[in-house]
Amino acid sequence: MYKGQSGMFAWLFHRIAGLGILLFLIIHIVDISLLGFGPAVYNEGIALFGTAILRLISLALIAAVFYHSLNGIRIMLIDFVPWCVRYQRSMFWAVMVLTILGFIPVAYFVIGPVFGLHTGNMGSGM
């Protein structure tokens, strides 16, 4: 067992993040299916996702996605590249740092509008 050191927390956060993402995925599949009900209904759902509280919850999801994917890469390196297991602890800290580094710019765009920041992406994208 990992006896409460970084390895255990890596596993625990990975599991919690994964479950959170899965829960979101279930909700997301349903909300996108609203497309079948036409623009009025679908756009109401989109309006909901634009509200402040949901932007905040989206931040949790985004952090979860970054952490889960980066730690997943760490897991794959440990599993498939034999000498990497020696570096599992430093890889965990690398995952934490990269999660924060990836999270901050995306969070700026997501939560910025709540504070009136003009994030420059309000035109229709692709």
Partner: protein, 136 residues
């Protein structure tokens, strides 16, 4: 006597567990790129409030967006449900409840997959008003 192969712990007995162990890792590779790009296209390059029906109509005019989203749907559902299966196996003690919950998960996966696939295949923008670009 089992000699260390130098590789990490993995299901030794082959079969379903080994296949699912490999599947989660292989699907993770695809999902890494699919999901991060999806996040960028829907939250960064355009604000989430601007991912309106109008935008989807424009995107889904190109069928490869649908393929992209369907790949994400399939891989993410299977990857996630496989992970949830492992979590259930970890915490559900009795065999009876384990079987019931796993059947529930299978049904849930099928239903969600059907809903997603039908949405992606059948979406045709309505002839009338597509609605605004950005929803305030």
């Amino acid at each position: 006597m089992r000699v260390s192969t130098g590789y990490g712990p993995r299901p030794a007995s082959g079969g379903f567990e080994a296949a699912s162990w490999y599947f989660n890792r292989i699907s993770a590779i695809g999902l890494f790129f699919l999901v991060i790009l999806h996040l960028i296209f829907n939250h960064v390059t355009t604000d989430v409030s601007c991912t309106s029906y109008q935008l989807i109509a424009i995107r889904y005019a190109n069928p490869y967006w649908r393929v992209y989203d369907w790949l994400m749907l399939t891989l993410a559902l299977l990857h996630g449900m496989n992970g949830l299966r492992v979590v259930v196996d970890d915490y559900v003690g009795t065999q009876v409840w384990r079987v019931r919950i796993l059947w529930l998960l299978i049904m849930l996966t099928l239903v969600l997959f059907m809903i997603g696939t039908v949405t992606l295949i059948t979406f045709q923008p309505v002839a009338g008003s597509l609605g605004p670009n950005c929803i305030k």
